[in-house]
Amino acid sequence: MSEATATTAPSANEPKRAPEYEERSRSNEVLSDILNGNFVISILAVLFALVIGAILIAVTNEDVQTASGYFFAAPGDTLGAIWNAVSGAYGALFQGSIYNFRRDGFLDGIKPLTDTLTFATPLIAAALGIGIAFRVGLFNIGGRGQMLIAAACAGWVGFSFELPWGVHLALALLAGVVGGALWGGLVGLLKARTGAHEVILTIMLNYVAFYLISWMLRTPGLLQAPGSVNPKSPAMLETAVMPEILGPKYNLHLGFLLVIAATIFAWWLLNRSSLGFTFRAVGENPNAARVAGINVKNTYVYAMLISGGLVGLAGVMQVLGTVTTGFSAGIDAGIGFDAITVALLGRSKPWGIFAAGVLFGAFKAGGFAMQAAEGIPIDIVTVVQSLIVLFIAAPPLIRAVFFLPKQGVRRRTVPSVSKEVTAK
């Protein structure tokens, strides 16, 4: 994270004329970022969000409400009820996402952690796509549509062709990624050709994709399972299903390795490749990029193709990894939208997104246990997640809340999604 460079002039009298500045490398900046408290701030932000979640859990808990009715008679009851409610909830969250102490043995107990990674898998893939679009200055709200189209393409290949092991999976994967890429690329193309705003296009295409897939799913001969009247596809053939990488005991599938590869790819693309260089240039200053010979319009198309492809990868994970028994029009499972939050939390940087995706995966995995064990609506997880993003983005707030010392003026660069090329 080399974004915040504090201007340190060695001598106050000679603000700009002192050429002998110390050379600072990028790794030094990452280090100084952590030392300057970014890491601490992140932890505290998560903590603060959890505290607010706890308050919500406590005030809506029936036992707490009953006990608080006679609070002054027996305050211990209320406090006890609060403790029970909150510890029960977060305990279940932990047990559902990291380690379940109620299971015998480490191998069983650790299963929740693998579930966390399983849920993180499509989130990370989609968020990488959205993050890359952010870096080019494009706001891709079309994750849902891109995932649906990708899922349909991958699913169709996955259930209709009998192909050898390996080939089948690869082909289904390819079909899905290409499908997502084209659906995303369509946005890029329309934006480049007609100047239409990508926010409108992606929102509208979400609905178009949803209804298109819904129709295909209930039309015999297209995606509907033969012999069934339900709007649902057949199950994937064995040869197209992502193998479980830790054995049948765990749900973690090959997709997770693919997502690691995708993260490395995205990192390479953005930081080490020529195309990524043009992406970032267009994202930061499309005018200068244009003057420097970069074809801005084509860049939008490429960016949306890649963005759609990565989001499509998430759709593929859904049909070939998570729900392999046939999909319906809800297969995107809201991941297209959650991924926006993940991309923002990860500051549109590949490894940041990876980390944020794992965190959100943990919340998702833990949320089920929390609901089942304590009857707490899973929506609380959404609340906590969104608060985390808000708080991490506003370090001064966290400093104020936790009475940390103020920092010098630092300006944070954020993915700019509002810049456009001036029409000439």
């Binding site: 579930d115 028994t325 046939g326 809201g334 899973i378």
Partner: protein
């Protein structure tokens, strides 16, 4: 049947998973939940419930319940079929109730399905008989078989009426032949649903059959706003009894007795009498049916009830065939 239930029930934990509609969908999730809650009460045991939001949630929700020690899990809606099937295979000692899907054939899964077309047929006949404008309308939430089966039966009932009486009552909002019609695109009582109902009323329909959870609420609003005399037909439960408002509008309701269906199975399981034979609700076993006319008693023709009884008998004995492409099949 309550006598020896106590010790069997002591460690009996019935649980229920909704589909994306949630337990307040004024439809099958809610009815099933109420059925289980009543049974749990009766048995004197706790129960657990979890709601699903998305397709991703079904399998994890079921396995979380297994983790919680549930020994009977009701899964609601065809969307949960695969997840249920997989969980049932993995956990042979946990019993499952699979509502609205008959595709699972396993020792520990009891499918509960309903041939609602039969009841809807009666309602269609009644609507056609009642209609003064000669137009009746229907619309649905989304084009799912559990929805269109009502619309098919309804339209067939109208057609049967036309044939029997030599009339020409028209159905707007659903075309059985082409399987196309009016849908709101979701199961929310929103403005789209209201406008759809308004449009049907604008087509002169004076009986409306809204199919899909709470969208009948939108129809009530639309009728109120239209200022016309329009009757409604409820689905699932007798809405004259359960709706918070607009009771006076219900000509009748098409009953799909999910509450009692789930109740019976939970109670049986609590008493160690679980069996996996599929239950198909029909007119014959009163799993489906139509509600009394209540306030409309005096407004329908005197002969209607008699005719309906005859038709019901005809359907039961097979002389009248009611088939919908969406009719459920149990394996």
């Amino acid at each position: 049947s309550n006598g020896d239930s106590t010790e069997a029930a002591s460690d009996f934990l019935p649980c229920i998973v909704s589909d994306a509609g949630g337990f307040d969908d004024k439809s099958f999730n809610q009815s099933s939940y109420e059925g289980m809650a009543e049974a749990a009460d009766e048995l004197g045991v706790e129960m657990k419930e979890v709601e699903s939001d998305t397709e991703d949630d079904y399998a994890p929700n079921i396995s979380s319940l297994v983790d919680q020690g549930c020994n009977l899990i009701a899964t609601i809606g065809f969307a949960l079929a695969e997840a249920t099937s997989a969980a049932a295979e993995e956990n042979p000692d946990v019993k499952f109730i699979m509502l609205d899907d008959g595709s699972i054939d396993a020792e520990n899964v009891k499918p509960i399905i309903y041939d609602t077309a039969q009841a809807a047929f009666l309602a269609g006949y009644a609507a056609a008989d009642y209609s003064k404008t000669g137009v009746v309308g229907t619309f649905g939430g989304m084009q799912f078989p559990t929805v269109t089966i009502f619309m098919d039966g309804f339209a067939d009932g109208v057609a049967y009426y036309n044939e029997a009486k030599g009339k020409d009552v028209k159905v707007v909002g659903w075309d059985v032949e082409g399987q196309t019609g009016s849908f709101t695109g979701g199961f929310e009582a929103n403005d789209t649903a209201k406008q759809l109902a308004t449009t049907l009323i604008g087509q002169d329909a004076d009986v409306l059959l809204p199919v899909g959870g709470p969208i009948f609420l939108s129809a009530i609003e639309a009728i109120a706003d239209s200022g016309k005399e329009v009757a409604m037909i409820g689905v699932d439960a007798d809405l004259y009894e359960t709706a918070d408002s607009g009771q006076e509008l219900f000509l009748t309701s098409i009953l799909k007795q999910m509450k009692s269906g789930v109740y019976d199975v939970v109670l049986a399981a609590g008493n160690d009498e679980f069996d996996a034979t599929p239950y198909v609700g029909t007119l014959d076993n009163d799993g489906v049916g139509i509600a009394p006319f209540h306030d409309f008693e005096g407004k329908v023709s005197d002969t209607l009830q008699g005719e309906l009884d005859d038709i019901k008998a005809g359907i039961i004995d097979g002389s009248i065939e009611v088939v919908s492409p969406s009719s459920p099949v149990a394996k």
